[in-house]
Subunit: 221 residues, 2 copies
C-alpha cells in the first residue's frame, strides 16, 4: 500500500476484499492501458457519467475536453468527481448461473479536478494525451496552435485517493457442482486492432506508420 | 425520436449535436452489445462510478449485484442514477494533434432504480443477464436455488430518459492541413475472444459448447 494511493474510508473496497488492490503499480498500469475512462460528477443532485479520454502524468490524471463541454465546465469548478477505468479481460463461466462472473481490472479515483492553465503545461498535457492513446504519434502530428490550445480544456486530478479492483482466474463453483457435466472456464477477451483505414484524402505514397501498423494494447514496456 | 427515448433537457447532448442520436433502435443495440456498464450515483455529495453487468429487458435495464453491495443498497433507495454504456470502435488519427478523436457509441440513461423482488421476476432477470453475456448459456448452467436468488440483488431502471452519442468515420482536419505529408485515418478496434481456457477441474470429455467456441460480439441478429 503506497502513500500516493492510501485508501480512504470512501475508496476502501467493501465487497470481496480479495479482489481489491491498492498497489501503486497496479493502479498505474490499469490507467496506462485503458483508452477511455468514465468521469462521474453530480450537478443539482443528478449524477452524470461521461466517457472521455484520459492520460496519466506521474501521480496525476489528465482529462481532456472542449472548452464548450458542460462536463468539464462543471468539473473545473472544483466539484467532487469519481473517475473509473475498467479493462474487461474475460467471461467467467461457472457451472452454476449464480457464480458466473467476469475477469476485469478497474481503478476508481475520487477527488477534485484542477484546470491546467499555462501554455507550456497545456501543450505538455496534450502531448501526454496523444502519446497515451497512440505512442509515437505526437512527433508526426501537426502541433496545436494558440487557438487550439485555447479551445482545449484540460483538467488535472491527483491520483491520491484511488483503489484498484482485479479479478483473475477461473470460476469458483460450489463444491457439489464440480461433478456436474457442465463446461466451465474462462473466455478471455482482448481489444484488438483491425487493419488501418487510410483517410480518403491521404496524399499518394504516404506510408502507414509503424505505430499504427503494429499497434498493440497493452503496450510493451 | 421515439417516445421511450424522448430526450429531457438533462439528456440532450449539448456538444456536437451531429453525434447525438435518440433513436430507440440505436440505444437498444448499444446496450445489447456492451458487456458492462458504468453506474453512477451520489452518496453524501460524492459521486461514485462503478462498473457492473447489465442486460436489457424490453424497455428496462437490469443491473445485477450482491445483496451486500454498497452500490446497490444505495441505488435501491431510489436515488438518482446515471448508467453509461460505451463501446470503443476505433482511434481517429487526424493530421493535427487537435483533431485526434475516437470512434465510439455510447448511451446515457438517467433515472431511478427499482428493486426486482418477486421470485419469478428475479429468476427471469438472472436468465436475461446470463443470456445477455453468453447467449445459450442459461440452458446448460445449474439454475439458481432459493438461497442464491435471495443473495442476488437486481435493479430495474426504465430506459425512458436516454440518449445515444455516436462517432463514426475518418478524421476531420482543417482544410489547410490536408496537404501535409502526415498519415491520417482510423485504426478500428474490436473486442475479440481468445481461445477458451477450460477449468482445471473439468470432467474428462466435457465438450466446449459452440456458444463459447464461436463467441462473437456484436451478436449476429
Amino acid at each position: 500500500m503506497s502513500q500516493t494511493t492510501a485508501p480512504s474510508p470512501r475508496t476502501t473496497v467493501k465487497r470481496l476484499p480479495i479482489r481489491a488492490s491498492y498497489d501503486r503499480e497496479a493502479i498505474r498500469s490499469i490507467l496506462d492501458e485503458a483508452l477511455i475512462c468514465h468521469l462521474g460528477f453530480a450537478s443539482g443532485g443528478q449524477p452524470y457519467v461521461i466517457p472521455t479520454i484520459h492520460a496519466r502524468r506521474d501521480d496525476h490524471l489528465l482529462i481532456h475536453g472542449s472548452q464548450a463541454s458542460r462536463m468539464l465546465r462543471t468539473v473545473r469548478t472544483g466539484v467532487d468527481v469519481c473517475v473509473t477505468v475498467t479493462l474487461l479481460d474475460g467471461l467467467v463461466l461457472a457451472r452454476s448461473a449464480f457464480h458466473h462472473s467476469m475477469n476485469y481490472r478497474s481503478v476508481v479515483i475520487l477527488g477534485r479536478g484542477l484546470e491546467v492553465i499555462g501554455h507550456d503545461e497545456k501543450l505538455d498535457a496534450m502531448r501526454t494525451l496523444v502519446e497515451h492513446v497512440v505512442p509515437g504519434r505526437w512527433n508526426d502530428a501537426r502541433k496545436p496552435n494558440e487557438l487550439e490550445l485555447k479551445q482545449t480544456m484540460i483538467l488535472r486530478l491527483p491520483i491520491s485517493e484511488a483503489s484498484a479492483k482485479i479479478r483473475t482466474g477461473g470460476p469458483s463453483d460450489d463444491e457439489d457442482d464440480y461433478s456436474l457435466p457442465i463446461w466451465a472456464g474462462v473466455l478471455p477477451l482482448t481489444l484488438t486492432p483491425l487493419a488501418p483505414i487510410a483517410d480518403a484524402r491521404l496524399g499518394a505514397g504516404t506510408v502507414t506508420p509503424d505505430y499504427v501498423r503494429r499497434y498493440v494494447r497493452p503496450l510493451a514496456t
